[in-house]
Symmetry: C2
Subunit: 355 residues, 2 copies
């Protein structure tokens, strides 16, 4: 991509503009700031699929009445180390933040806490929540389900979403460890991009054709036939995600639509999710835990790279470095995305794209 | 394998003999029964790698003084929904059973419980514990670390074990869901077996050669260079297992030996592990949860198989069916294994192999 195709924007400017757009769409100012902040954090880390690119989707759903602009989170149950919240069919970031904070509070009191949410919507990047938990000193895990389009291992019937999961682990002097991933081998847009670019081949295991036959031909690979990472083992993890995020919470799951809303099945807007936080200080001194995580990270970094590998990495390391750099340099946005935001912004009364 | 190479033994006979062997090696009768029972359960499910085949290893370590025959489990910390146990360098099954039962008790009281164990040893199959938790009505997860020999993704330095994890989820009329897996693509003995048989090829991603280069040639693949299931995503899960089972518990982890015992590093006998139990009845009616798991399982079973697939499966299904069959037919044991057990049994004063 040439420099002409990219606009570089300071994170704060982008956050402010996206927040104003959301406010223009009826989202209260404090909630708009939270949602915008979560998207910009993803862009800072280079996770563009979960950055401001999502504004178009959110705007569309807010305008269509499929998402409530004012998110009201209600407590369905709360006892001991567990709780169940209802996300009020509002913005996922609002109930998600409430849920992870409650899980952390429970972990501090009881050692471990598990907070489930139903009737919410798209959360953005799960890492945003698990990092928030790790910032507060807890090992934090997240699992989220979604609309049915990915088949079980060995099937051609869509029953699951890409069922993402994430964890973050606090460290000492090293940056925290962060894994944030779909349980499919890749997201559908990786396949679409390969098709659009005319790539001759995609790696084995990304997606099957529409009869469920393995293929490395991008023109035959179907985004309705994404495959699980690591075959049946990844399928096993995805099934656990579906149960924790969908079944346990009483949310929609698999082929079952259980939450209010016009859009169901493949178009399902609602999501269920679960956050688990674990406070290491209930098992031993926190300083010792942090030092041991540092030690493990350093032993990994000091290990001998395989032939052709430059550096042995830990999860979240590349994203952490990218964030540091983009906080200084700004966030590069493709011109098409800038145009899209400009259009949404003008329509929402937030004015033209800044700069 | 011809019928001559196989002896079929009723489960109860095999359990009794293995228990007598363990008693002969100084293990108290009640503990011997538990350990033998866990091994026979693995054989019933067809998980031979974690069945009575392990008796030789256990006998060796008991005789060598690396494992204490009488396992004394002590409570290091116990508060709220968390606890830390010390496995007294004894048999893993004893502290593991105590830990999973405590996690379930905490889940019943608080909604979720997480019990960590350090200074224990080989647990056998993790599924034995998670199924016990699911039998008691809890979604149960287990993670275990071990001696360092598997490199981080992109490295040739052994820092991790095969870092297994397991979960079990209670259902209603359907059998519970059970996943029990190494986070490496396969266990080392799958590679060794391919070498022994002279297989022309192994699947890509099982193991690298001794310079960390990918290979499908079994003669070049190294059991010191096993690869993670699903590449860097599986590595991310394995790292979480190391942190939950090793770092959080204060056990040995990575290259750090922290527990007593002569055998360290690659020969490390001690293990750390974590069990997490989650009681669905704290989030909604238990009957509803069970019915929803059944519904999900049935939708998976009713889904259309991909070309060449006979039946779409859920985790644990094949093992469950095998168990039902072997409870009736008995457990088939290779003659070499029968001979080995006979030798160990005679030496331990338990007499010859029965039958």
């Amino acid at each position: 991509m040439s420099a002409d195709d990219v606009t570089v924007v300071p994170a704060a400017t982008l956050t402010g503009y996206c927040a104003r757009i959301l406010e223009g769409l009826g989202v209260p100012a404090d909630q708009a700031g939270v949602v915008a902040g979560s998207l910009i954090e993803a862009d800072l880390r280079g996770v563009e699929s979960h950055g401001v690119h999502l504004m178009a989707l959110y705007a569309d759903r807010l305008r269509g009445g499929h998402l409530k602009p004012r998110t009201e989170v209600t407590v369905v149950r709360d006892a001991g180390s567990s709780a169940l919240l209802d996300g009020g069919q509002g913005l996922g970031q609002i109930s998600g933040m409430a849920a992870v904070d409650l899980a952390v509070a429970k972990a501090r009191e009881f050692g471990v806490g598990a907070v489930a949410v139903r009737n919410s919507s798209h959360l953005g990047a799960l890492g945003w929540y698990t990092m928030r938990g790790a910032d507060a000193g807890c090992i934090t895990l997240a699992a989220q389900n979604g609309p049915p389009f990915v088949p079980p291992f060995g099937s051609v019937t869509g029953i699951f979403s890409t069922n993402p999961m994430s964890y973050a682990v606090p460290a000492g002097e090293e940056p925290m460890l962060v894994l944030d991933m779909a349980t499919t081998a890749v997201a559908g847009n990786r396949v679409l991009l390969a098709q659009k670019r005319g790539d001759p081949e995609i790696p084995a295991g990304w997606a099957n054709d529409d009869r469920g036959r393995p293929t490395t031909d991008p023109t035959k690979a179907s985004v309705r036939h994404l495959q699980w990472f690591g075959g049946y083992k990844g399928y096993g993890i995805a099934l656990l995600v579906e149960i924790l995020a969908g079944v346990l919470t009483g949310a929609s799951f698999g082929l079952v639509d259980r939450e209010p809303g016009e859009l169901t099945g493949f178009d399902r807007v609602t999501r269920g999710y679960l956050f688990v936080a674990l406070d290491p200080s209930h098992y031993g001194p926190m300083d010792g835990f942090r030092a041991d995580v540092d030690r493990l990270v350093r032993d990994i970094h000091a290990s001998e790279p395989a032939e052709g590998v430059e550096r042995v990495l830990v999860p979240g390391e590349l994203e952490h470095r990218r964030r540091e750099q983009r906080l200084i340099d700004g966030i590069p946005l493709a011109s098409a995305l800038v145009d899209e935001l400009d259009r949404i912004g003008r329509a929402a009364g937030a004015g033209p794209f800044p700069g």
